[in-house]
């Protein structure tokens, strides 16, 4: 090899490694995540892929901070009865028949293109949300709205025909648009008018028109001007790659210091595969991860790998991982195993060492015994912990008639009509890595007490299809179905977000015996109570909670609900999920804090590098 060729080779290597050493510009932040939104339309979309990104360049009327306290965002103050902005009208029997909420938008609140945010925007947002032809994801809250009435350019009333407990909350529960409440009228009105005209001319092509011209409009796909209410202004979106923002000077909420000391540029990189995301973080290409991408990774090991490059934090996610049990008597496979008897479920929960499970599979997670996450305002902290006690399990199962009749290591029992049944229980979950491992661990725990767990992992698109998840009564899933559900977000649930446990709606008028929330042939398999649990006391408490505006009183009612749940165990709670987040050294105020904040991106205006003078306040 000649000297020249050696030089060339070395030169090439240097050039190649240059890429690895390049540092991001100061005051810019590169975030890495695995979920990319399908579009930037504020009315439509699946929450986990969108709430993050939309949160960078938008802010809602209110937001939860990292202590779980509700704060005004675009609004001047949170409406309440004390400050006269919340008016409740009751009838003779004390029922609330009407609710009016008065909002005032901040004087200095304006869009990223300089135009002021006005009440007209709010009225328009509701108009679009309410238009039947327009595709919005959910109308659960906007259906409660009777009208949105402008008072002056910054003030408006929202009138609800039935009480909305979450009238000031986040996530679309105010009843305007789903993502961050108010959408820019001056951007969307021309599109809206054009789409409505096209639909009027061609009603049979509504779907294509909405998909192409509404969801496919430039402000939604990022190919045109995208206008938002937040501190960062949209710059560009390279599909499957990244989306980029830069700070604007006229945002209404101030960071704890001069704005030039805080983040000026934000880039959100989409990396679909978790291992690739991890390697990018370790290579220094990414300053911070979002709160979804690193799910299931061991924070201690990650910190060991990261070394001095950054810190790893664990934040509560607001989701509880649980085993939903098939309680339908119509499903023979489940009924034969006596899953409908609460003692069986109590036996099963004591056969699982949930501390061991959580530590292995989701490091940082803590076992749960409730349907509310720990730390939430409605959380009951004195519930039965159902400690790991396999002997208690064996005793209870023996009481129920199970024993190892043929000495093969598995329990059997003889039914009333003389059949011999083996305790073989079906367990299904998605194919996420941590769930595959959970299945294997559960299999071992249950095998130790004589229960044969038949593990099945199927893709999410299969198990969450309504033909599957809503057909427990038909034995689609025949034993336990594991997934995570939100456990209240400082709203003291019985809010619709977290509750799949009620059966009969006792708030309707007149009250009937139809179980609205249990998917049965009678109600076309609609509803979220997929286990089929029916508990009258629980339903009554829920109806009470949904009419209680005082959040403290409401949380007391919810605590009573948790006592019932903890005893009956219609679903077997495993652990409160946590999220693993990495941060480069010096990044401040990038903290989620509690599950109520919903995303890591609730306060982009406060992000900064300590090295550049940013002050840490969170």
């Amino acid at each position: 090899m000649t000297r020249r060729s050696i030089t060339v080779v070395v030169g090439i290597c240097l050039c190649l490694s240059l890429g690895a050493l390049a540092n991001p510009a100061l005051n810019s932040l590169v975030i890495g995540g695995t979920q990319e939104p399908s579009n930037l339309c504020p009315w439509e979309g699946a929450a986990d892929t969108k709430e993050n990104v939309m949160g960078i360049f938008n802010v809602g009327l209110t937001y939860f901070d990292s202590d779980g306290v509700l704060q005004p965002g675009l609004a001047t103050e949170i409406p309440s009865e004390e400050n006269g902005r919340l008016l409740l009208f009751r009838d003779a029997s004390g029922q609330i028949v009407r609710q009016e909420v008065l909002w005032t938008i901040r004087e200095d609140a304006n869009w990223s293109d300089g135009r002021p945010i006005t009440a007209d925007d709010a009225v328009f947002t509701y108009k679009v949300q309410n238009t039947p032809e327009i595709l919005v994801t959910t109308r659960a809250f906007s259906n409660l709205v009777e009208e949105v009435r402008k008072v002056d350019s910054k003030t408006f009333w929202i009138t609800y025909k039935t009480p909305n407990l979450f009238y000031a909350n986040v996530g679309g529960s105010i009843g305007l648009c789903r993502f961050y409440d108010i959408a820019p009228k001056h951007v969307w009105e021309p599109i809206y008018d054009q789409v409505m005209a096209a639909i009027a001319a061609n009603p049979e092509n509504t779907t294509e028109i909405i998909e192409g011209q509404f969801l496919g409009a430039p402000p939604s796909t990022g190919t045109g001007t995208v206008v938002g209410s937040g501190v960062f202004r949209f710059q560009e979106w390279q599909i499957n790659q990244f989306i980029r923002f830069s700070r604007r000077g006229d945002f209404c909420l101030d960071p704890p210091g001069p704005a030039e000391n805080y983040m000026q540029e934000v880039t959100f990189r989409f990396i679909v595969a978790q291992p690739t995301l991890v390697s990018a973080i370790l290579a220094g290409e990414i300053d911070a991860s979002d709160d979804i991408g690193l799910a299931g990774l061991d924070p201690v090991i990650l910190q060991g790998q990261l070394g001095n490059q950054g810190t790893v934090e664990v934040t509560p996610s607001g989701f509880i991982e649980k085993l939903n049990v098939n309680l339908f008597p119509e499903c023979a496979a489940a009924a034969d195993l006596l899953l409908g008897d609460k003692r069986t479920r109590q036996a099963i929960i004591q056969a699982i060492d949930r501390v061991d499970l959580a530590t292995t599979v989701f490091p940082g997670a803590t076992p749960s015994n409730s349907f509310v996450v720990a730390g939430d305002i409605g959380f009951h902290d004195a519930l039965n912990p159902w400690e790991y006690d396999p002997e208690a399990t064996e005793a209870v199962l023996a009481d129920l008639g199970w024993s190892d009749l043929d000495n093969d290591g598995w329990l059997e029992r003889v039914t009333d009509d003389g059949r011999e049944i083996e305790f073989a229980m079906h367990w299904v979950a998605t194919t996420a890595d941590f769930r595959i491992r959970t299945g294997e661990i559960l299999q071992e725990f249950l095998a130790d007490v004589g229960i044969k767990l038949e593990v099945e992992n199927l893709p999410g698109s299969v198990v969450f299809a309504s033909e599957y998840i809503n057909h427990g009564v038909d034995c689609a899933f025949r034993g336990m179905f594991e997934y995570a559900e939100a456990g209240g977000v400082a709203q003291a649930p019985a809010d619709p977000l977290s509750n799949e446990l009620w059966a009969n709606d006792l708030l309707e008028d007149p009250v009937d015996a139809v179980l609205e929330n249990v998917p049965l042939p009678a109600n076309s398999y609609g509803g979220t109570n997929i286990t089929g649990w029916v508990n009258e006391e629980f339903d009554q408490l829920r109806a009470q909670a949904l009419e209680e505006f005082d959040i403290v009183k409401r949380s007391e009612i919810v605590k009573q609900m948790q006592v019932i749940y903890n005893e009956e165990l219609p679903t077997i709670p495993l652990y409160d999920r946590v999220e693993t987040v990495t941060k480069a050294i010096g990044l401040v105020n990038y903290v989620k804090g509690t599950a109520a904040a919903r995303t890591q991106f609730w306060n982009p205006w406060e992000w900064g590098w300590e090295q550049n003078g940013a002050i840490a306040v969170r």
């Binding site: 190649l16 890429g19 690895a20 399908s38 959910t138 509504t206 980029r244 299809a465 076309s524």
Partner: protein, 323 residues
């Protein structure tokens, strides 16, 4: 022969139709749609919302009705909107995924070709020498190694152990400005995937080139050329090489369509946003439009290349008779 050619060309269209029907039917049998995803994490998503969205997307109609509507739109050149990305499916695939796949597969094809031709030739000329044996062993390794495992090991060595000497995947790093840094950055991201993807082709083609060359060397006209006293080099380059490369090119032609769908394992391991991965994801979440447009495109490519290969075969071997 002309008649045969015209007949084959005309057969392409009904074949494509049958393929589209089969594919659409199979896709439709798989339950689940993106609407089910919306339930999780959207406050208060009710049954009414669910029914409304199903009706909106026409999912409550039977699959053959949906197929018919799809076909009608396709014949007008409209391949529909992708439900995952909110953009026109065809534009999405061809603007964002297709170029990436062409880049990756094209480069690996090029690499394989550039290495296999000389390696195979020299191997054939110096048959039974140490070089030949080592090339043969390397070939066997290349044909046997699972591509995804090879990729994982490459990532482990170059990205994990060497702490980011080469990136562990992805297309490019953001925030890189300037033509030269961008070029270098893209190159760095390409090195490992191209090596992994080309391993199989490289091995196969080297073997093929070697046997093709061995065949040609012993043919009469080569022997004659030698006998005429031409230098070894002239014999090789002027006569043998040209003739032995031709079958290889036919082979490469057959391989090209496979590159589009078959690189999925490499694309998964290296998080490369290519067509293979797009098809896989689309199938998984029932994004019909994206899945169908990509699958039809690849089917068309395969049919086209098969036709060319069959023609070449028929022209080359007169013993094979086609009715």
């Amino acid at each position: 022969m002309i008649v045969y050619l015209i007949r084959r060309l005309l057969q392409v269209i009904p074949t494509l139709l049958v393929i589209s029907l089969i594919l659409y039917g199979l896709l439709a049998l798989k339950p689940g749609d993106p609407i089910d995803e919306m339930r999780r994490g959207n406050p208060g998503f009710t049954q009414e919302d669910y029914d409304r969205l199903r009706e909106f997307y026409g999912l409550d109609r039977p699959w053959y009705v949906q197929y018919w509507r799809w076909l009608g739109r396709v014949l007008h050149g409209d391949f529909g909107i992708s439900r995952q990305f909110g953009r026109p499916a065809a534009a999405y695939i061809f603007n964002y995924r297709f170029p990436n796949t062409v880049l990756l597969s094209g480069l690996s094809l090029l690499l394989a070709f550039l290495v296999s031709v000389p390696a195979g030739t020299i191997s054939a000329i110096r048959q039974h020498t140490a070089f030949d044996y080592s090339v043969t062993v390397v070939n066997f390794i290349g044909v046997s190694i699972p591509i995804f495992w090879f990729g994982i090991m490459l990532i482990y060595v170059f990205a994990v152990r060497l702490r980011g000497f080469l990136p562990a995947g992805g297309l490019a790093s953001p925030g890189v400005v300037g033509a030269w840094p961008i070029f270098v950055d893209r190159l760095r991201h390409l090195i490992l995937p191209v090596i992994a993807l080309s391993s199989l082709q490289l091995a196969q083609w080297t073997r093929f080139m070697r046997s093709s060359m061995l065949e040609v060397i012993k043919l009469d006209y080569v022997v004659t050329a030698r006998a005429k006293g031409l230098s070894e080099r002239a014999v090789i380059y002027r006569h043998a090489l040209r003739n032995s490369v031709l079958p290889l090119i036919t082979l490469i032609g057959l391989n090209v369509p496979l590159l589009f769908s078959g690189a999925i394992l490499t694309e998964t391991v290296f998080n490369w946003p290519g067509m293979g991965r797009a098809i896989f994801d689309a199938i998984l979440v029932n994004d019909f439009n994206v899945a169908m447009v990509s699958l039809m495109f690849i089917s068309l490519l395969v049919l086209a290349f098969n036709l060319m290969a069959d023609l070449a075969y028929a022209l080359a071997d007169p013993r094979v008779r086609y009715e």
